[in-house]
């Protein structure tokens, strides 16, 4: 006979195993996660991994081709490209992290309020959100950075603002589908206030699709940051980001195409990883296991 405590422990173990299986059993999710973890490891170990300081210039060694000492060559300031690439990982990851976090928090709350409370609050939020979504994300980020000046902070803020409306819209739709469900009515009948219902019942049930959208938005955000930096409007030099490395590599594209190609590949890797994770999460978080076969029997 198991006591309640024992039973709880067993159940928790079983549940953990089941959840783990759902995630590890999904190939794209695993591949995406591995790539992302690798990138995180590189970012964290950057000071030790990079052979040179990313900002150390050398007027003697400018525009060197790939060699044993400089596997990817040097740029027009004599800086080692490989080291810059490694340090560039930090910026990209920072942008990804902040965009996901900010868009999730802001988008969930605003979208939840709009979808759940409805009425003119919903209409008001929708108008603003639709206007924001009408602009291509990149252009919006561009406009914001143009007014705020270019720096890491303004890039992060600009990109977050540009990509949050999507999350808000998805959260709102999901909240709309949750609103008529019986357990929400049940919560009202025990006397819960709307705010409490929103945070305790609506948002937890709405999270899975919203997380997926936020993750996919991060991929677009990385591309936007790279684009901004490429145009010289993003993070200021000499801080390396993959975007401005591509820009730097433009000049020597014929002699040392590796510079632009390698940074392009890094961006691609990051975006692919985020997309795989986003898709994989959608599948892994989805099954609430509606046993359809039972209904047929």
């Amino acid at each position: 006979m198991t006591t309640s405590f024992e039973q709880q422990r067993l159940d928790r173990q079983a549940r953990r195993k089941e959840t783990l299986r759902r995630f590890t059993g999904h190939p794209s999710l695993m591949i995406g996660t591995v790539i992302l973890l690798l990138l995180v490891a590189v970012a964290l170990a950057a000071p030790w991994l990079a052979p040179y300081s990313p900002t150390r210039t050398s007027l003697v060694n400018t525009l060197q081709d790939a060699s044993w000492t400089h596997p990817l060559g040097t740029d027009q300031f004599g800086r080692d490209v490989l080291s810059r690439l490694i340090h560039g990982t930090r910026v990209s990851l920072l942008v990804a992290f902040w965009v996901v976090t900010l868009s999730l928090v802001i988008g969930t709350i605003i979208g939840g309020i709009a979808g759940f409370l409805g009425g003119w609050i919903d209409r008001g939020i929708n108008v603003v959100n639709d206007i924001l979504m009408a602009f291509p994300g990149f252009l919006l980020a561009l406009a914001i950075v143009a007014t705020q000046g270019s720096s890491l902070e303004s890039v992060i803020i600009a990109v977050s603002i540009a990509y949050t409306p999507r999350v808000t819209a998805v959260m709102r739709s999901v909240a709309l589908t949750i609103r008529p469900r019986p357990f929400i009515e049940a919560s009202r009948s025990i006397g819960m206030t709307s705010t409490r219902i929103l945070f305790r019942h609506v948002i937890p049930n709405a999270l899975p699709p919203v997380i997926v959208v936020a993750t996919l938005s991060a991929a677009s955000a990385i591309l936007a940051e790279a684009g901004l930096s490429f145009l010289g409007l993003g993070v200021r030099p000499p801080i390396p980001t993959w975007g401005n490395i591509i820009a730097d590599g433009q000049a020597s594209i014929t002699t040392n195409p590796l510079i632009s190609i390698s940074s392009g590949l890094c961006i691609a890797a990051m975006v692919i990883a985020l997309n795989l994770i986003g898709d994989g999460l959608r599948d892994a978080l989805d099954p609430q296991m509606r046993r359809q076969t039972a209904k047929i029997l």
């Binding site: 049940a186 919560s187 009948s189 025990i190």
Partner: protein, 349 residues
């Protein structure tokens, strides 16, 4: 049993509810859906009032109005002797501790992301009960419905439909309410589980003296559990009385037809019973007829129109008594005993 001497626990007086009653910005108004029209009933402590009706009868709406989950368009809701029709939300919350609801869908009425212990103790935390007391009451409520509290950390999808319905009942009972509105609580369950839950509800009533407003469409189930029964058609209460009065001496033609349509598991009886079929489909609440709402389908009206002494009118190819097409009959009689809303209540056929 009914106690006419006591004050009723719940009183609904002349409740009307119309949905989507709008005037568009161009000045055109739509009549809206009249879900409930002039419904009056009372529920006493320690009794079960069954509320039966088919689609569009308004029974679910009336049940929700009783709990003020929906506001009535007009009329009064009295609970424990106090008028709560327009009570502000803060004060209403306090009342809600004693009036709870059990829902039809055992799958949808529990938040799938909350464990059962949190689900059942949630009403307590809404009303600011201490953690220790919450745990105690939650476990007691689960035991009361026959579930083992040591399994309360599990999630709803790990339980069967019948068990989930019990969890819903536990959640409703955890605050010790005096009134429970049950909206089709057993229709989504298998027949072998229905009896379990019905017996449980009976047990709970014996133990706690809670009153039930039992809303259902299954007449056999309602007969089993109710002391009194009210029959609704298209938003009106057409007949109300003691269970035996309604089931053995129905007066309203709709009740008579309804009872004759319920299949009985006895082949000899079933194949020889007299069916009183209704003409046409159930009316739409969008477009309620003038006069008695039942007259377009009423077999009795057509029969009465045959009598020479009754003034009649021709509608299409059918003759209907004029009184049926122009006057909405009032509920006549004592709702504790037997009341009926028909111009010709004493005719039987």
């Amino acid at each position: 049993m009914t106690h006419p001497a006591h004050t009723p626990l719940l009183e609904l007086k002349n409740i009307c509810k119309t949905f989507n009653d709008t005037t568009s910005w161009r000045g055109r108004s739509s009549k809206g859906v009249q879900a409930v029209a002039n419904a009056t009933l009372s529920l006493y402590p320690n009794e079960t009032l069954g509320l039966v009706g088919e689609t569009g009868s308004g029974k679910s709406t009336l049940g929700r109005i009783a709990l003020r989950l929906i506001a009535p368009s007009s009329g009064t809701v009295m609970f424990e002797g106090q008028d709560i029709t327009h009570l502000p939300a803060r004060l209403m919350r306090e009342k809600r501790q004693r009036m709870q609801m059990v829902f039809q869908d055992p799958y949808g009425s529990l938040d799938p992301r909350m464990s059962v212990d949190k689900l059942v103790s949630e009403p307590l935390s809404v009303h600011d009960v201490s953690y220790a007391e919450r745990q105690e009451k939650m476990q007691a409520a689960l035991r009361q419905v026959g579930l083992d509290p040591s399994l309360a950390h599990r999630y709803p999808h790990e339980f069967s439909g019948g068990q989930r319905q019990r969890i819903g009942i536990a959640r409703a009972m955890v605050l010790d309410p005096t009134l429970l509105v049950l909206d089709e609580p057993v229709s989504a369950l298998d027949v072998s589980i229905q009896a379990q839950v019905l017996n449980l509800l009976h047990e709970i009533q014996v133990r706690t003296q809670v009153s039930y407003l039992f809303i259902a469409h299954d007449l056999s189930v309602v007969r089993h559990i109710s002391h009194r029964v009210a029959v609704m058609y298209l938003g009106r209460i057409v007949e109300i009385g003691t269970r035996d009065a309604i089931y053995t001496r129905p007066k309203h033609p709709y009740t008579v037809s309804l009872l004759s349509a319920v299949p009985i598991p006895d082949p000899d009886l079933e194949r020889t019973r007299k069916r009183i079929p209704l003409i046409g489909e159930i009316g739409s609440a969008n477009n309620t007829p003038n006069g008695c709402r039942f007259h377009p389908r009423c077999p009795r009206a057509r029969e009465m129109a045959q009598q020479p002494s009754i003034a009649k009118q021709k509608i299409g190819s059918i003759e209907i008594p004029i009184i049926c097409t122009t006057q909405d009959p009032a509920l006549v009689g004592s709702e504790q005993e037997h009341a009926c809303a028909c111009h010709f209540p004493h005719q039987t056929f």
